[in-house]
């Protein structure tokens, strides 16, 4: 029985104390590629939506052209590609087509000249139109958006497209270049479409981001990944976080009463997936207690298998032994701490937006301490710098905000690195 996916549930405490009040427990649901998994058997359907506004001139555009060349060279002949370029106008440079016309695509890209302003939503809509042409359940459907600028008052339209994309299983990877763009928007686009987001400080890194994207598509082991957790009576799910490709609070969408349901799109067999569930468990006497059951379902389009399912139970054993009740699983503890850093950072930004500088400073100080404890010296220093900036100017720096937003969300990627086979 070789399984394509392995599911493992780890509790913060296997033996919580038998208590008279309810208590918090954390369950880590780890999904990894099993011995029967085949990676990269699905053809891609990718739409590149690229900013060619005036500010992209020079080094940025040169590196972008090189990165598009890399994508074209590393797709196979059966993959589909389209290229849409936008400033305040949109042009479909390469309509959706098999990636085999490599030289022609590169020649057309080479001719792009930066000009004009930035209107992301029109570019995204056009990219959606192109990716829809080849959209199929048997392909990995994806949009890669790259921009270096603030969009012109069309944030809501962008998020609407992202929402539609998510519903149609088209993940959008949003890439922000430099410092003058809206990280809230780009992260929102990624979260709504269940995609990824990158911050690139230096144009030289565009290639790396595009490489990651191509490799990610070629590591897909399953599609239509869904996780359902049915909790027993008395167990209350409070918060749910997905942690790959970055930490996202999906509680609102996922929790319905004591059932948790989430759609996670395509499954990257190299990165795996890890879900953190925070629940309240009831007061209970000593003995074994079934918290619920987790079911992971997925499709394997390459073999025509749909709705494959792996089920696993969540158990704890309430104990009266105080030493046993104090034992905490180190892996779960570490993940909860990373999520804690992410939460503190997010709250700090919310407080800044609301003008509560004192509260924001306090949250950032707490975040810095947690980050330091996690060994994230670089991020902790970034938080310290932003605390100073808040105290001096009452505002955060553009680069610092981006560093913290992306850095804390991606704290988990080191962990999933360890999940690699």
């Amino acid at each position: 029985m070789k399984s394509e996916l392995k599911v493992q549930c780890i509790m913060s405490k296997d033996t919580p104390p038998a208590a008279e009040t309810e208590q918090a427990i954390y369950s880590l649901v780890k999904i990894e590629a099993g011995s029967g998994a085949a990676l990269g058997t699905l053809p891609a359907n990718i739409a590149l939506v690229l900013d060619r506004s005036g500010s992209m001139d020079g080094e940025k555009m040169e590196h972008l052209k090189e990165a598009v060349g890399y994508v074209v060279d590393h797709l196979s002949d059966t993959d589909l590609i389209s290229v849409t370029i936008f400033d305040d106008q949109v042009e479909t440079l390469i309509p959706s087509q098999p990636a085999k016309n490599r030289n022609e695509i590169k020649t057309r890209i080479a001719g792009v000249i930066p000009r004009g302003g930035t209107q992301i939503s029109d570019g995204l809509k056009e990219g959606m139109r192109e990716v829809r042409k080849g959209r199929s359940q048997d392909r990995i459907n994806r949009i890669v958006l790259l921009t270096d600028g603030q969009t012109w008052d069309d944030e809501d339209a962008c998020l609407k497209v992202a929402d539609e994309a998510g519903k149609e299983a088209i993940a959008i990877t949003s890439i922000g270049l430099g410092e003058d763009w809206n990280e809230k928007l780009l992260l929102g686009i990624a979260e709504k479409s269940r995609g990824n987001s990158h911050w690139i400080q230096n144009p030289i890194s565009i290639l790396e981001a595009f490489q990651q994207e191509v490799e990610g598509m070629q590591s897909v082991a399953a599609t239509n990944l869904n996780v359902i957790a049915r909790m027993s009576d008395g167990v209350k799910p409070i918060k749910i976080y997905s942690t790959v490709p970055m930490i996202a609070d999906i509680s609102k969408k996922a929790i319905k009463g004591n059932t948790i349901g989430m759609t996670l799109g395509s499954f990257d067999g190299r990165k795996g997936q890890a879900i953190l569930i925070e629940s309240r468990i009831p007061a209970h006497q000593e003995g074994r207690f079934r918290l619920g059951q987790v079911e992971v379902t997925y499709d394997l389009p390459a073999t025509g298998m749909k709705g494959q399912s792996v089920k696993t139970d969540l158990f704890v054993t309430y104990t009266g032994d105080t030493a046993a009740a104090a034992k905490v699983n180190a892996e779960v503890m570490n993940l909860v701490e990373k999520v804690s850093a992410f939460k503190l950072q997010t709250r700090a930004l919310t407080e800044v937006e609301a003008g509560n500088i004192v509260a924001a400073t306090r949250k950032l100080e707490a975040a810095a301490t947690v980050l330091l404890d996690l060994g994230e010296k670089d991020l902790a220093e970034a938080a310290e710098r932003e605390i100073l900036s808040l105290k001096k100017t009452g505002a955060l720096s553009a680069a610092g905000t981006k560093k913290l937003e992306y850095g804390t969300r991606k704290l988990t990627m080191a962990m999933t690195g360890a999940m690699k086979k």
Partner: protein, 144 residues
């Protein structure tokens, strides 16, 4: 549970303070997840079926019985566990650092390693290449 840093009251079982992110159970003993040892076992039946031994410190081997609320980690039902006399909680595979041991849990039909019956509740080392038999169901041990 009161946070020592900010005095905020947190729910029992919380690991980090909801308000300031400070660690709440400094004295908590951290258990390393078994998987971190990097070794994982697979049990293979004579007809080639593979069962992964989940990466944890204690893995129950047996037969599922939802009525009695018994859900072993390694369920031998589909390999003919019932016909071959596997008990519901037949044995436990323990992980001890890099090593594995099998403990028979007082099963009706016994546990055998390389055709030798082991005493109930006495841990016996197993390693890749061994044959382990639960009742009449024989499985070979491999590294995953």
């Amino acid at each position: 549970m009161k946070c020592q840093e900010c005095q905020m009251e947190n729910i029992e079982g919380a690991l980090f303070c909801e308000e300031c992110g400070a660690k709440l159970e400094d004295k908590a003993e951290l258990l390393e997840t078994a998987e971190e040892t990097g070794v994982q076992l697979v049990l293979t039946s004579s007809d080639g079926n593979e069962l992964e031994v989940p990466a944890k410190d204690e893995v129950v081997v047996g037969r599922e019985d939802p009525i009695s609320d018994i859900f072993p980690d390694v369920d031998l039902t589909n390999l003919g566990g019932m016909e071959n006399g596997v008990s519901r909680k037949h044995a436990v595979i323990h992980r001890e650092g890099m090593d594995f041991t099998v403990e028979d849990m007082g099963s009706t039909n016994g546990t055998y390693i390389n055709k030798k019956k082991i005493q109930p509740h006495a841990r016996q080392t197993i390693k890749p290449g061994d044959e382990v038999r639960f009742g009449k169901l024989s499985l070979s041990v491999k590294a995953a």
